[in-house]
């Protein structure tokens, strides 16, 4: 592996790890707040899948960095400006409809991204994708069912779900942006060219929203910045909570 490819792969694995840990943490915020017990457990399971995925990406990033850092250093010792996750993942948990709509957007995204990443020439990235594909099928079935149920539910649930769709839509555009790093890796057959997945994502999401009697928003506005470290204020608050134990007791084991 050339130095340039190695550095870019390290950055890419970190980005994918950041997406997974941030979304996993957001989902975990529902634990003990789920609307009923089974749903609470379901949320815990999905959170665990994402946090496990983050660990695999970070472990690989640490291996590439080869500077003594571990997966924990990637998760707990970087500030918000150093995080490279997509903004969608860091949005607060909101109400139940808001979290399920975000989950649907993410699940459809991974339904498209992971099968592409499976074909990566990088064996580790491909192996992580292979594990995620099967799990994502279950995630998507659940978020799709919830969005259908809430959108095509009561007047109140419909109103809240539509509001969630409208508020989150502007954060979905950057999911399909490519920059120099990812383009170089895509050309080398390592990274996924996400710009090519946009139409398929739009079609899948639109079909589900329409079935749920919801309106697909116009592309009126977009917020970008996650991949360059420019985040909404939500990430800082989330990291404060996520990192406090590790930072207060460095190296603590139990």
């Amino acid at each position: 592996m050339s130095d340039a490819i190695k550095a870019a792969t390290l950055e890419y694995a970190t980005r994918l790890g950041d997406d997974a840990v941030v979304l996993g943490h957001r989902i975990s915020e529902w634990v003990s707040y789920g609307p009923f017990l089974e749903e609470d457990i379901a949320y815990g399971n999905v959170a665990l899948d994402y946090i496990g995925r983050a660990r695999m990406f970070y472990t690989y990033a640490a291996e590439l960095a080869d500077d003594g850092r571990t997966e924990d250093d990637f998760a707990y010792m970087r500030s918000d400006r150093e995080y490279r996750n997509l903004l969608l993942m860091e949005m607060p948990k909101g109400d139940f409809a808001y979290s399920q709509v975000r989950q649907l957007f993410a699940d459809v995204y991974y339904t498209l991204v992971l099968p592409e990443l499976l074909h990566s020439k990088d064996e580790t990235l491909s192996a992580i994708a292979a594990k995620g594909i099967k799990e994502t099928k279950y995630h998507l079935r659940r978020s799709r069912e919830w969005v259908l149920r809430l959108g095509d539910g009561t007047e109140e649930s419909h109103k809240r779900t539509q509001k969630a769709v409208d508020s989150l839509w502007g954060y979905t555009h950057e999911m399909f942006d490519m920059d120099e790093t990812e383009q170089m890796l895509a050309d080398a057959g390592i990274a996924v060219d996400v710009s090519k997945l946009r139409d398929a994502w739009h079609k899948m999401v639109s079909d589900i929203l329409t079935e749920a009697t919801l309106t697909v928003p116009e592309d009126g506005w977009a917020v970008r910045g996650g991949r360059t470290g420019y985040h909404t204020e939500n990430l800082g608050h989330m990291l404060t909570e996520m990192q406090i134990v590790h930072r207060s007791y460095p190296g603590c084991q139990w």
Binding site: L48, D49, R53, I128, A130, K131, E135, Y138, R141, R142
Partner: protein, 179 residues
Amino acid sequence: MNEISLMPEEQYRRLQQRNAAEVKELWDLLDQVKDPEVPVLSIWDLGILRDVERDGDRVVVTITPTYSGCPAMNTITDDVIAALKASGYDDVEVKTKLSPAWSSEWMSPEGRRKLRNYGIAPPEDAELDEDGLTPDAHAQCPHCGSRNTRRISEFGSTACKALFQCNDCNEPFDYFKKI
């Protein structure tokens, strides 16, 4: 009449690997390491024990996670080291291998029987739906054998299971998902 069940290809390969291993006694020794969340299954039964090798005095054990976030991996690693240490193997390395991704096909026939007796329906006790996912009904109840059951939750007490309830004997039960 004796029932002769056909062995899935994956199972056959695993058994061949184990029987051909130069360190067969180490494979046997590791049968005592159980999945901490399903303590009736050994790591061999579950199919997460991938390889055991000997490199001089060092023993290298390769395991694979069932799900990405399986929280049992750290405990299993510790248990493997402890089991080998207790038999005098002090230099043990446990490697985690992600590829090929674990499949419930790797579970041993013995493991499937143990699971059912323990009250958990094994993967083959349900017909998958058209998407290849857990169906919303008809997983066989491990308590009374009825197929008149319904899915209560897609996600059960651990990542690898879904929750069902039997409409005949009313008992809830876990179904080990097929992936």
